[in-house]
Symmetry: C2
Subunit: 408 residues, 2 copies
C-alpha cells in the first residue's frame, strides 16, 4: 500500500482517532510512506461530517486530514468488532504493532489490555489536560495567554488555526518514531502519552513568555500586527491591499531604506529618539516613528508595484491574502509548487492536495494520495492482516460487524 522507497515504507500503524491532532499525526506518517490504517465505527466517528462540506456532504476537513490512509469500519460497540480491532492493532510484524489514538483508551483499548496480546506494542495516546480531563484546542488556547496578547486589546482574540492540534499531531509522529527506535534497540514497546495542554504550556514556556512573567514581572501586551522586540508590522497599500514588512537582520533593515529611498529620513530617527537603529531592540523602540516614515510610501503604491520593487531586494515581506486570494493569486498554492498535486478526491472531485512538506531529496517526492472512503479497505485489511477468507469476511458483513465503502 506504500511506495517501496518512501522513507517510512514497511511501517504499519493503526489509528483510532477523530478531529485534527491524532489524524494529522497519522497522516504525516502515511504521507511519509507508512501504511496507516484508520479504524472507525461503522457510520464514522464524530469528525466524519465536520464542516466545511462539499456540496454532496463529504467533509473537506475529514478528507483533508486523512489522506493516504486506509479505512476500516467496524462495529466497535460490539465485542466481535472490538476483537477484530484488537487483532489488527496487535497483528504480527516487526514493523507493526503501533496504535495512535486520541480516544479514551480504557477497557479493551487500554495499553494494559492490548499489550497482553502483543507485548511490544507501541501506543501513542493524546489526552486533553495532563490529569486526563477534557480539553480541546479552543479551551487550551484561551488558558495559555495567547488570545490576550493578540489583536489590539480590549478583548482576547482566539486564533483560527488550531495551532496546538497541529503541534500535538507532529509531536505524535516524532514520538512514534522515537519509540520505534527504542523498540528496535531493546525490544520493548511502551505507552507514550501526550497532553494537548502540555503542548501549549511547553510552547509558552519555550518562547520565554512564562519566564518573562516570573523574571521580569512582565505580561506581554497585545500589539496589533507589530512584532515584539524587532521592527515589523503591516502597511496598507494604495489599492486596498496590505503587506507585512519585517526587518530582523541589519541587512534587511538597510534594504528597506535603500529600496524605498527613505534611508536618510529613517536615519534621522536614531538621534531624534536617542536609539540605535543598528539594533533590533532599538528598531522596536522606534517602531512608531519608523512606521510613520514608511506608511506614506506604501499608501502611495499599489501592491503590484511594491512587489515589483521588493522582488530580489533582500527585503523580508509578504502580502496579506485571504484564503480566496491565496488560491487564486499565489503560485505557491498551486500545482506549480512541487508539494501540491491535483488529485481526485472521492466525494469531492478535483482538489489541490499537499504531500507532507518534508522533501526527501534521496527519493522521488511521492504524489499526495486521496483520503479513503469510510470502510474502503475493510475487506482488504482483514484478509491481509488477519488472513480471513472472503467467506468469513462476508459473514462479518452480514452480521453487521464490518462495513465496506460508504461515501467518505
Amino acid at each position: 500500500m506504500t511506495a517501496p522507497d518512501a522513507p517510512l515504507s514497511g511501517l504499519r500503524v493503526v489509528e483510532v482517532s477523530a478531529f485534527v491532532a491524532a489524524p494529522l499525526g497519522g497522516m504525516t506518517l502515511a504521507q511519509l510512506g507508512a501504511d496507516v490504517i484508520r479504524i472507525d465505527p461503522i457510520g464514522g466517528n464524530i469528525d466524519l461530517r465536520r464542516w466545511p462540506l462539499a456540496p454532496g456532504g463529504t467533509s473537506l476537513y475529514w478528507t483533508g486530514l486523512n489522506k493516504a490512509k486506509r479505512s476500516v469500519a467496524l462495529a466497535l460497540d460490539r465485542p466481535e468488532g472490538r476483537e477484530i480491532a484488537r487483532a489488527l492493532i496487535c497483528a504480527p510484524g516487526e514493523d507493526a504493532g503501533f496504535l495512535l489514538t486520541n480516544l479514551p483508551a480504557s477497557g479493551w483499548m487500554s495499553h494494559a489490555a492490548l499489550s497482553a496480546h502483543r507485548t511490544d506494542l507501541i501506543m501513542l495516546r493524546l489526552i486533553g489536560n495532563p490529569d486526563g480531563s477534557g480539553a480541546v484546542d479552543y479551551t487550551v488556547n484561551a488558558a495559555v495567554g495567547f488570545p490576550d496578547a493578540t489583536g489590539r486589546g480590549g478583548e482576547p482574540v482566539n486564533h483560527v488555526l488550531p495551532a496546538w492540534d497541529i503541534a500535538a499531531g507532529l509531536l505524535l509522529s516524532t514520538g512514534l518514531l522515537a519509540a520505534e527506535r527504542v523498540r528496535r534497540r531493546t525490544g520493548r514497546g511502551q505507552e507514550v502519552v501526550l497532553s494537548l495542554a502540555d503542548v501549549a504550556l511547553a510552547s509558552a514556556a519555550n518562547l520565554g513568555y512564562l519566564a518573562d512573567v516570573r523574571v521580569n514581572g512582565a505580561v506581554r501586551p497585545p500589539m496589533g500586527n507589530e512584532l515584539y522586540g524587532a521592527f515589523g508590522r503591516d502597511f496598507p497599500t494604495a489599492d486596498g491591499r496590505r503587506v507585512m514588512l519585517v526587518a530582523i537582520s541589519n541587512r534587511q533593515w538597510r534594504a528597506i531604506g535603500k529600496v524605498t529611498g527613505l534611508a536618510e529620513r529613517l536615519a534621522m530617527i536614531g538621534p531624534m529618539l536617542d536609539v540605535d537603529l543598528g539594533d533590533e531592540g532599538g528598531r522596536f523602540a522606534a517602531r512608531h516613528a519608523i512606521a510613520a516614515v514608511l506608511a506614506p510610501w506604501f499608501a502611495a503604491r499599489p501592491l503590484a508595484e511594491v512587489a515589483r520593487l521588493f522582488e530580489g531586494s533582500g527585503i523580508l515581506w509578504g502580502p496579506y491574502q485571504d484564503f480566496g486570494q491565496l488560491v487564486r493569486e499565489d503560485p505557491r498554492a498551486s500545482a506549480a509548487n512541487p508539494m501540491f498535486a491535483e488529485i481526485e478526491q472521492p466525494g469531492v472531485g478535483r482538489v489541490l492536495a499537499p504531500a507532507v512538506p518534508l522533501a526527501f531529496l534521496g527519493t522521488p517526492r511521492p504524489d499526495p494520495r486521496p483520503a479513503p472512503r469510510l470502510g474502503e479497505h475493510s475487506d482488504a485489511v482483514l484478509a491481509e492482516l488477519l488472513g480471513l477468507s472472503g467467506e468469513a469476511i462476508g459473514r462479518l458483513h452480514d452480521s453487521g460487524i464490518v462495513a465496506g465503502a460508504e461515501a467518505p
Copy 2:
C-alpha cells in the same frame, strides 16, 4: 551527555541554527535524549539577544529554545573554524552524522560538500519559500489567509504564537527520525528540505480551507471568538473574566443545558429557528440565539462559581488567562505538572522549564535541563569528537578559532 535510557540516547545531532523552528526541532530531539550540539559563531548567532531578556541581558527566548543542548562556539568566518565545524558534523559514529540547519547551506555547509566527508550524512534543512527565497513566520502567515479570518474583521489580525515555526520545528524532528530509519535500512544518507511556507500551505489545505474556496467558492470570514461549524464562543463573567465554552459532541451540549438549568430555554431555539440542535451544524446555525440564552447566566456569576459548577460536569470549557494569570493561577503551569521543573538557568536564575511534552511511560521522565552558555561545551566536544588534546584546544583558543563559555 544524555540519560542512558532516554528514548533517543546515543543519537548525536549537530545543529547550526537561529530563531525558533530549527532550534525547536533540535531541542525536541535533545529533550528526548539525543546529544544535540549547537554550533554558533563566536559571539553568538543573530538570535542570541532576542527579546524578552532577563535583567542581566540573557535572552529568555534563546535559553527557552536551546535547553538540553551542548554549545560550541567557533570562528565560522575563518577556514579553520569552518573545518572544525565540518569535522564535528561529519564525525564518525553509527548514530551520528546528522546536521539540522536553517542557515543558507551553501559552500562548505552544502550537502554536496559535507557528504564528501561523510557519505551517509543526513542533513535537514529549513528554507523560507519553496524556491529558496526568504520568508519568516510573519510573512508566511500573512500570505496563507489566517489573519484575514481572525478577529472581527475590518483588518487582518496576526497570530502572536509563531505557529508555523513550531510546526516546522516538529516536522524537522519527525523528518530526521524518518531519515535515520532509511539510513539504518539502506545505509543511505540524504538531504531533507523543508519550506516554512509549505508547512503553512499544507496546513491550510489539510484543514479544508483551500478546498472550501475551490469547491464551494467560500472564503472563511472572520468570526471573532466563535467556532466554525459547531457551537463555541467566549462569555464574559460577572467579575470581568471570560471563559471559552465549546460543545462539539451531543453529550457536551446536553451538559451545558443541565448545569446551567437552561435546557428548556435552549430547546426552544430548535423550533424557533427550524434547526436541529442535536447536530453540530444546527448548533452553529443557531449560535447567536444560543449565546443570547447563555450570556446572562455567565454575566451573573464570577469565574470561580462557573468553575465550581462546571467541574466534573462533562462541559468542555476553559478560562481565558493572560500570561500573568496563567503563571500565577494555573497549577498546570507549575512544578505540580510533571512536565515542568524548577531549574537554575545560567544568566537568568530559577525558571520553570518544561520537558518535551511527550511522556514515555516506559522510562522515567527526564527532568528538563538548562540551555548552555554560549561556547560552554566547546572544549569538551572538541576533545570528545575530534580527539584534540588540551594543548591543541588551547592553541585554537589563542588563535581565536574556538571560544569557551561566555554568558548565554
